[in-house]
Amino acid sequence: MEMSGSGGTVLELRSLEKMFTEKKTGRELEVLDGIDLEIGQGRFTCVVGPSGCGKTTLLRAIGGLVEPTSGEIFLDGHPVTGPGPERGMVFQEYALFPWRTVLKNVTFGLTLKGISAIDARASAREYLETVGLTDYENLYPRELSGGMKQRVAIARTLAVEPRILLMDEPFASLDAQARNGMQEFLVELWRETPVTIVFVTHSVDEAVFLGQEIIGLSGRPARIVEKFTNELPYPRNRTDAAFTDLRARILDYLTKEMADSYV
């Protein structure tokens, strides 16, 4: 196994393909068309592409929630099948257990690992402190704002110490202000913790603000058509010329892909 933190490869995708069968027509639908990708330890990777192209399917395949039709996925060199706590997922709709308090949402995965209730609570409290929700541990999800809910979800996922954090448009349901706040929060969190992140978004601005690598997918079936490297230092400034320049380049690619996919 490769050493973590040394910049080695955490995740590797080899010719990943996914076909769906349309229920109504029985027609085969190709969603992913030969995805090859390597993601290094501790990197922050964003995935963008035209809507409906298969971004989410790609992420869910990595997460083990969707079984690829062909191709392979390796985590730290080991092939993966099915979901597992070493690949933590954060969903757009938070997916918090509404009947569990904030604290108990975070301990959920911990107790499944066989950690004692006392240790799980102590560990969960640390993660809640990390996401700034120490005073909210006894509240239920319905009592929280959208941003707070997503922070609980992140804490819950980080608590099981995944090798990689898979985020599926996690801030898409938030209003613009909360969204900016969460982006800043995530960058800070990522810089403090050695976690690798794959972040799917339909917002180019968000991708440029967050990612070191920005993967551009084609329209369906999705292939990787662009790879942008973003060396801008954190925290990033949206009014920077380099920022707006990169954003414009990505938008150009995206406009072209969208035009192609509509033809």
């Binding site: 997460g63 083990g64 929630l65 099915g82 979901p83 597992g84 706590p85 690949r87 933590g88 997922m89 969903f91 709709e93 997916a95 918090l96 257990f97 509404p98 009947w99 569990r100 308090t101 959920f108 995965g109 499944l112 690992k113 239920y140 999800p141 319905r142 979800a153 819950r156 996922t157 099981v160």
Partner: protein
Amino acid sequence: MKKWKVISPLVFIVLWQVLASAGALGKGVPSPVQVVQGLYQLTVTGFPPGYKLLGDILSSLARVLLGFGIAVVLAVPIGILMGWSSWFDVVLDPIVEALRPIPPLAWLPFALVWFGLGYLSAAFVIFLGVFFPVVLNTVAGARSVDPYLEEAARTLGADRRTILLKVIVPGSLPSIFTGVRIGIGVGWMTLVAAELIGVKNGYGLGYMIMNAGEVARFDYVVGGMVVIGLIGFLMDRAIKYAEKRLLKWR
């Protein structure tokens, strides 16, 4: 708003008294005052003499709780499995749907053959009344659990058993409570009829109502109705309270 909670039953009782006294409700329909007197006699003397109201209440309560308890204990797991696993649904749904429309009372003769005149035959009929609403609501509840929650649990390392117990079951609870509340109401509704075939110990609210009706003691009949209504109301409140405590996350 709150005062109407008290005013509306009071107006109902006063209106009832006035109409009954004026003879506007028909022959033999007792007034509230007569019902209270009847309830007093049922409490101290009983009907038939010696068989006092408390015994009727306890016996009926035992029958209802027995039938209700067995129904819930069976219906919840079955409903969860049907709502969660399509295999269970395919296997059990036709049976449940075929048995469901049969009125529980149609089973009375078999209840007697299978369970005799004891507590069990009445409990069986009540069971049939409670079982189906609880199953159907549980199925609906299990199906309504957000699939994202199941996926989140899987990515956190949960196996199928854990998902069932820690995601599907708690997620179904609100619907289960709805089913339980409907079920307990149906349980009391079937009780009176369930006791009509006879009860071995001579006690029962439905049994008393039937016997009093046959000798035209309608003050006892209405008294029994009032007691059933009151117990039903209290049980509903108790379930509501439990729901509030258990489901405070809602």
